[in-house]
């Protein structure tokens, strides 16, 4: 009995190891990536969250994309043939679409073979965004921008059904391979939003065949064809044999050559045979799987950071296993925002301004970075994060240098003494880290005599409070949607005040004027000069205490090549290469 059980166990384990070996062989040259959130669906108009967008970016194509190696990253053509022709008034964009771009083979096409991409496909895909039946939250990228599009949407909502045969005045297929987009007003961010997931192109016949189930049968023009998806577990994509001609970039940053990032320059993409995304929500199993070599790269979970990185360098244990560390400063910012409508902390100029400056000067960024980010952040001097046009690396914010004496002087200027300093109320979302932040703000502001009351809320409660302008002080973060400082400066534009994204309700006439001027200008030094003036105004008025720009720490295994991270670039899988020989060798060491 006992013996037979042993034999059985041995047989089963043999079977398992045979299986994994077989699987390893089958999926050789596949990129393996971990996702820390479950995927909602794979339809560009339905799921707009970061992780769903990441997977979709490998399956679907767009008109434009970001350059992979250059920093700051630039918009380059993707399935458009060259950059569009832009009319002088900035109102008409004419895109030539690449010839010979094929959809993935799928049963929804008449002979099962993917057909060629046409201008009409983009018009259909964009109309789907505006179709109320799909309830997409991605329509903001075109709302009030493309001529007649908002009216088209309103009409569809009124009729209860969208009529796809009805043209949108701003969207025109001049011929099979030419798409003309006309705008209501200049919109320099158009090229950025065209890289995003709502602007991905889908084939009409497949959407009509699968309907709402399209999110389980995605068909696109991207480098990878959808293979399988086990919900909350794994998504397998395989190389699209008919993928368009695209080559690994030949230009990058100066250090890219030394880092081996240009070794594959000029090679046909994709450089691997497929991608496997594994969804693991918990930090520990994700981390342990990476250590076993089941993922090619991983962001170090916070609690495991000290075990892997000591004094900003990888420990010997990891180095010996061929693991390397890559650090990038993220394009985001954390901040403490004041409500400019509030009688105590608000108001342009005067008392409120000095009080805000005093609190900002009492803020200790260096200690914050040490205590809350394991040193993984840089102090923010203004609203624009590094890596975006308009970011000035030499800027020093006079109210961001921790100095209690100076803060007390500013408090005096605001008309308070330490004894008569006002009490402020800070709102934060629920959670341990937020509560600790709250306690920390209390301590910091107390150094100049300002007492702070901290209230924690559920996320909807918290949002509701500042959307209704009921918060006095609150703390948040903002991540870039596209690499343009406008995405951050719009958070101070008067017309965007709550319930819009400008939750500090900052409304400064000169700033507003400059913003309106810059909003219709193309990228360049002239626009950056205006951005700089706007940042000057924001720093002087201090509607925010600027926090930090967070750094991302990623580990990559020795066999994994061409890894270069930027939070905005999502269609990265095609550039990755897996050195299978090195992998077989290194995996034995793990």
């Amino acid at each position: 009995m006992k013996l037979s059980r042993v034999v059985l166990v041995a047989l089963v384990s043999l079977g398992i190891s045979a299986c994994t070996k077989k699987e390893d062989k089958k999926f050789a040259n596949y990129v393996r990536e971990a996702l820390k959130t479950n995927i909602k669906g794979l339809d560009p108009v339905v799921s707009g969250d970061l992780y769903s967008s990441t997977v979709m970016a490998q399956i679907f194509g767009t008109l434009t994309q970001y350059s992979y190696l250059e920093r700051p990253t630039k918009v380059v053509p993707y399935q458009a043939d060259g950059m569009p022709q832009i009319s002088k008034d900035g109102l008409t964009y004419t895109f030539k679409i690449k010839k010979g771009v094929l959809f993935h083979d799928d049963a929804c096409f008449s002979n099962g073979k993917g057909r060629e991409l046409e201008a009409e496909d983009f018009i259909y895909s964009f109309k789907r965004l505006a179709d109320p039946a799909w309830q997409s939250d991605g329509f903001w990228i075109f709302e009030d921008k493309i001529k007649g599009f908002t009216a088209w949407r309103n009409e569809a909502s009124k009729a209860g059904k969208a009529d796809y045969s009805k043209p949108v005045p701003g969207l025109e297929a001049v011929d099979k391979h030419t798409l003309k987009i006309s705008l209501e007003k200049p919109y320099p961010q158009l090229l950025y939003v065209l890289t995003m997931s709502p602007a991905m192109v889908v084939p009409r016949e497949c959407v009509e065949k699968y309907g709402k189930d399209f999110q389980n049968h995605p068909v696109g023009t991207g480098p990878y064809k959808f293979q399988s998806w086990t919900r909350n577990s794994q998504i397998v994509l395989e190389r699209h044999p008919g993928y368009m001609e695209e080559y690994y970039p030949t230009v990058g940053e100066p250090q890219d050559q030394a880092n081996g990032l240009l070794a594959d320059a000029g090679k046909r993409l994709p450089l691997n045979d497929g991608v496997i995304f594994t969804e693991i929500v918990e930090d520990q199993p994700r981390w342990l799987s990476f250590r076993k070599g089941e993922f090619d790269y991983l962001e170090i979970p916070k609690d495991y950071f000290d075990g892997a990185v000591v004094s900003d360098d990888l420990t010997a244990e990891y180095k010996n296993a061929g693991v390397s560390l890559s650090k990038t400063v993220g394009t985001d910012i954390t901040f403490v925002s004041f409500n400019m409508d509030d009688p105590v902390v608000g108001g342009l100029g005067g008392k409120g301004k000095y009080l805000r400056q005093a609190l900002s000067t009492a803020y200790n960024t260096e200690e914050t970075i040490k205590k809350f980010y394991n040193g993984r952040a840089v102090s923010a001097q203004g609203p624009i994060p590094p890596g975006l046009g308009g970011y000035d690396p030499n800027r020093v914010n006079p109210f961001k240098q921790h100095n209690i004496e100076k803060a007390k002087e500013l408090l005096k200027k605001a008309g308070y003494t330490e004894a008569t300093a006002p009490e402020i109320h800070i709102d934060l979302p629920n959670g341990v880290t937020y509560r600790q932040f709250g306690e920390y703000y209390q301590q910091l502001f107390n150094t100049i005599g300002v007492k702070a009351k901290v209230q924690l809320h559920t996320w909807p409660e918290f949002q509701d409070k500042h959307k209704k302008r009921k918060s006095q002080v609150f703390s948040m973060a903002w991540g870039a949607d596209y690499p343009d400082a406008e995405n951050f400066l719009q958070l101070f534009y008067g017309k965007n005040a709550s319930p819009g994204p400008n939750n500090s309700n900052f409304n400064h006439p000169e700033f507003n004027k400059l913003f309106e001027k810059a909003a219709v200008m193309q990228d360049g030094p002239a626009r950056n000069a205006i951005y700089n003036k706007m940042v000057d105004i924001v720093i002087d008025e201090t509607p925010w205490i600027f926090g930090v720009h967070r750094k991302d720490y990623y580990l990559t295994h020795g066999w994994f090549k061409n890894y270069k991270r930027n939070g905005i670039i999502l269609n990265y899988s095609k550039y990755y290469r897996v050195d299978q020989e090195a992998k077989d060798k290194l995996k034995k060491k793990l």
Partner: protein, 299 residues
């Protein structure tokens, strides 16, 4: 023969000096060493809480230090937390919060439980039906959900914790008191009081209540445990006392993230402090029950 004399002697002393319920209880507790020790621990905690709230001990519990997370040392007996605050002093101040929650919530819940229980048990009939319906309804919603809902409505802070726990935990006591009143209302002494013309209120609160008071006392000591535990759970869920106030729940909440970094002292201090007081209250309440309620006596 000797045996018989001894028995006789015992019987005679007992008949000579009949003890009241309370005197008997006190002498029983006096003989119970374990209960006495636990009582002493409770008094010690209460003293700590009192001195801390008067600012006589652990006054600089909010004192920060740029060097966070120092392990236990002669300077900081239980080490320091992420902001360099002394964990020992925070634990002492946590005692204050824990005991005040036990006390204040009892002051809210016990009157409600006793009054409703007394009225239901004494009057019976429709009144009883109504009160039973009311507390069954209240009881059918899980306590934690009621407390969470209440603290969302009232906002965070110690006051809402008092109210939330106070207004949701009276049902058990109410049931007990109701049953006791049903039993007592037909006893001779109550009938006698009735014959003498005592009013309902007088019969309920002057005659019956003192005879069931031991139940309230036992319940009071058990309630402390519920109060302390609920506060810890609420703070752990982010619904408890305001940020900045030291409480054991907040300390345990902090510690769950620190453990991965090898910081164990904050968790040890908070759970240790909780362990001793909850254990002491449990043992003491048990002894009290044994001493006061002859029917439940198990030794």
């Amino acid at each position: 023969m000797t045996v018989a004399t001894a028995t006789m002697n015992q019987i005679s002393t007992q008949t000579q000096m009949p003890k009241s319920l309370w005197a008997d209880a006190i002498s029983r507790i006096k003989r119970d060493k374990l209960a006495l020790t636990c009582g002493a621990i409770i008094i010690f905690y209460a003293l700590l809480a009192l001195l801390a709230s008067l600012g006589l001990i652990a006054a600089d519990y909010a004192q920060t230090n740029p060097q966070g997370f120092s392990p236990p040392s002669p300077d900081h007996w239980f080490g320091t937390d992420m902001f360099g605050r002394d964990v020992f002093m925070r634990t002492v101040h946590g005692t204050r919060i824990a005991l005040s929650i036990g006390l204040v919530t009892s002051l809210i819940a016990i009157p409600i439980g006793v009054c409703l229980g007394a009225i239901a048990g004494y009057f019976g009939g429709k009144v009883d039906d109504l009160i039973v319906w009311f507390y069954t309804t209240v009881d059918s919603i899980p306590d934690l959900l009621k407390i969470i809902a209440l603290s969302y409505v009232m906002g965070r802070g110690i006051l809402s914790v008092y109210v939330a726990i106070g207004f949701t935990t009276w049902v058990g006591l109410c049931r007990l008191i109701r049953a006791e009143f049903m039993k007592h209302k037909s006893r001779e002494y109550v009938l006698a009081a009735n014959a003498l013309g005592a009013s309902h209120t007088r019969r309920m609160f002057v005659h019956i209540l003192p005879n069931v008071f031991h139940i309230i006392l036992i319940n009071f000591s058990l309630r402390f445990i519920i109060g302390i535990k609920t506060e810890v759970i609420l703070s752990y869920l982010g619904l408890g006392v305001e940020p900045g106030q030291p409480s054991w729940g907040i300390m345990i909440d902090d510690a769950k993230q620190e453990l991965a970094q090898g910081v164990w002292w904050q968790l040890a201090a908070a759970t240790g402090a909780m362990f001793f007081i909850v254990l002491s209250f449990n043992i003491f309440a048990d002894a009290l029950r044994d001493a006061l309620d002859p029917k439940l006596r198990n030794k």
